[in-house]
Amino acid sequence: MGPRDWVLAAVVVVLLSVATAVGQFVKRQPHLGLNAAAIATFNRRLGAWWIICALLGIAFISPTLTVALFGLMSFWALREFITLTPTRLGDHRALFWVFAFFTPLQYILVGYNSYELFSIFIPVYAFLFIPARVALAGDFKRFLERIAKIQSGLLICVYCLSFAPALLYLEVPETGSSASNARLLFFFVAMALISEALQFAWSQLYGRHVIAPTINAARTWEGLVGGSASTALVGMVLHWATPYKFLWQTAFMSMVVAVMGFAGAMTMSAIKRDRGVRDYGTLVEGHGGVLDRIDAICFAAPVFYHVSRQIFKIG
């Protein structure tokens, strides 16, 4: 780890500490009239972010270990997703293949950096295998609905999330060392965290127009616009840690993370509302809600990877 990495680590620890301090402060200020449930959610999220950032520190030491850790996170998130969505007996064999074959193989392909394989493995092969295997089981009741649930779960929890550790294998031009890749992954996750915190802050302070009250009452237009704009500003401050050539590229990528993270959180909220639960974590007592914490990363990771690689020509 070079001096830049230590500075980055220090920045992350300071930002997390500030966010934690703010969260704890507003929790003790009931007279401000802020939404108590939203504050509790924010504080729970921060606790998880501390853990995620600590795990990301491993990326500086071993990319392979980071891929494996993200793989475990995918596996757990998929468990929560499938547990929440009702399946029928006829889906059993297809589900077994999804958990035992497609999920681990996707991460093995990411670990070997076979972009040509891991970028199409699930959208083509798993996508076609699942309906065929369910059809073989002979149960046609609500067929399209059932296969769509399994496909969506696999795409969101496994395919999309696997692009986050794939950032470690992009060929970053300037130094070519693995530390600059680890910094890119760190930048991505830090932006997702910061946009989460900033959108929350803007919504609480200036939020007037709730986007979709039936889905998520805490998300406002002011939070989305203000949060994304201020995320871009924070991203520009961290420009030195990224491999992007120009400042505007870093700002653009930060906004991409903010907007996609917002889209992910809204989508997962909609699924939870449909199933009538508040959090994936409260589904079964004693199991943590991994999917509640990584919804923003799941949506942002593939777009962040693709734009970095194809448009800004990194890797």
């Binding site: 596996f75 929560e80 399946t87 064999r93 077994f96 958990f99 035992a100 079964v284």
Partner: protein
């Protein structure tokens, strides 16, 4: 949930010193359905009930119905 088989009754009659603990495993029909041999790792929840014994002079049918009810109740708690 099916009716309980009589083995439970004979077991507790022969060994009245043993506690019978009702246990309900949620989601079991999805994790490993009847007739399947490969499990799907879904989230599950195990609920334990208070222990029970064969009461003195309790008939086989009464006892099995009571044992079944004890497990059934755990399902509703969850």
């Amino acid at each position: 949930m099916g009716e309980f088989k009589s083995g439970l009754y004979y077991l507790s009659k022969k060994r009245p010193d043993l506690e019978l603990v009702p246990v309900y495993i949620d989601n079991m029909n999805r994790v490993l359905p009847r007739g399947e041999f490969l499990p799907v790792p879904l989230l599950s929840c195990i609920t334990f009930g208070p222990p029970m014994w064969l009461e003195a002079g309790e008939s086989k049918i009464d006892f099995l119905a009571r044992a079944r009810l004890a497990v059934q109740r755990l399902k509703e708690v969850d």
